[in-house]
Symmetry: C2
Subunit: 229 residues, 2 copies
Amino acid sequence: MSEQVKTTRIPIVERVLEANDQLAETVRSELARRGIFAIDLIGAPGSGKTALLEATLRQLKGRRRPAVLVGDLATRRDGDRLARWCDRVVQISTGDGCHLEAGQVRDALTQLDLDGVDILFIENVGNLICPVGFDLGQAVKVGLFSLTEGDDKAAKHPYLVTAANLVLLNKIDLAPYVSFDRSGFEADVRLLNANVPILSVSATTGEGLDRWLDWLDRGVSGAQGARAT
Amino acid sequence: MSEQVKTTRIPIVERVLEANDQLAETVRSELARRGIFAIDLIGAPGSGKTALLEATLRQLKGRRRPAVLVGDLATRRDGDRLARWCDRVVQISTGDGCHLEAGQVRDALTQLDLDGVDILFIENVGNLICPVGFDLGQAVKVGLFSLTEGDDKAAKHPYLVTAANLVLLNKIDLAPYVSFDRSGFEADVRLLNANVPILSVSATTGEGLDRWLDWLDRGVSGAQGARAT
């Protein structure tokens, strides 16, 4: 029985992914047309995705026009937190869904006024595994890890590290209180993705955010330059 | 297209779950026959599942005969850590699988000498969502949260909290360094699962482990009493 299930299952999963990829391309084209730099932010529950975005939106105020989509199984707590710093936020409730899909992003974008928006943050559901396989139409994927999770999480989540355009290591303000081998972590990342930038940040104290903001600025410039050509 | 995919997809997922449930019942019967108390330990990446089991195995030495199954996408690091404290450990590599399934548990158990074993820990893949829906044949599910993840994680993961027979809150040694509203966290748990015990622990300092060990002892007594009757 389980063999039968397996052989039936695979083509269905592929069809779901194919349908997702088609929707993702629609989203990607629309964002490119508008010159919006879109970031799919992926991290474990509690890695600090919302805290990072709060700190980032605070810094971008007056300099950029951001929009945010945020996915969670339940509650609108993250959306409410982010709405304090940005007037274009949509909370996506996934129910028991363990990741966002391109169709949800497309639908959420119709609820926003995108005129003048230059950067879109998509905070994925807190999960290091399932979000990786689903293209959302983003320009880049950012893999967010945190010091309190332990230094083995890159090696244990190779698909995210391989797919990431940037690896962020958050909560470096807690370094004095937890055991974390930063060079070991970085070596694990390098084995999987030799050239990916690795930036250390603290969303709480603001340490390291300048380099993250520079990286975002380059992304926005790229997206707007591509639109102009 | 996406509608067509959805209607085709649901019965397949149900068949996978049905096949899993049948295997889980086989595992459950075998464990019950042997009087083994089996715990499915579910928590986010970096919540401290392996550290908790290390501390637990150290305490159980000479008092209990434990066995451990541990699931990860990649690496055998957790298995190696646990094998220092227990001679019956099987590492299950799930590849890109975001949770353990009953068939993996059944197969892993055939690799262990279960004679005299009275407690089985199954450390699930680090993920607060997908493992919840898959019965592994366990007696109980334990939901592990940690202080560094933030106090909103129970409300944001209602399926795990509802399904849990015990909620553990780990890393309480880090309380002075992070913001965490413990009464808010407990209130969120209580809304979802009114009577579930909530125990605060630190796998690092050992604080609170005595109550967790008492809880395990009662589970083992229950499993062995049920076998005797």
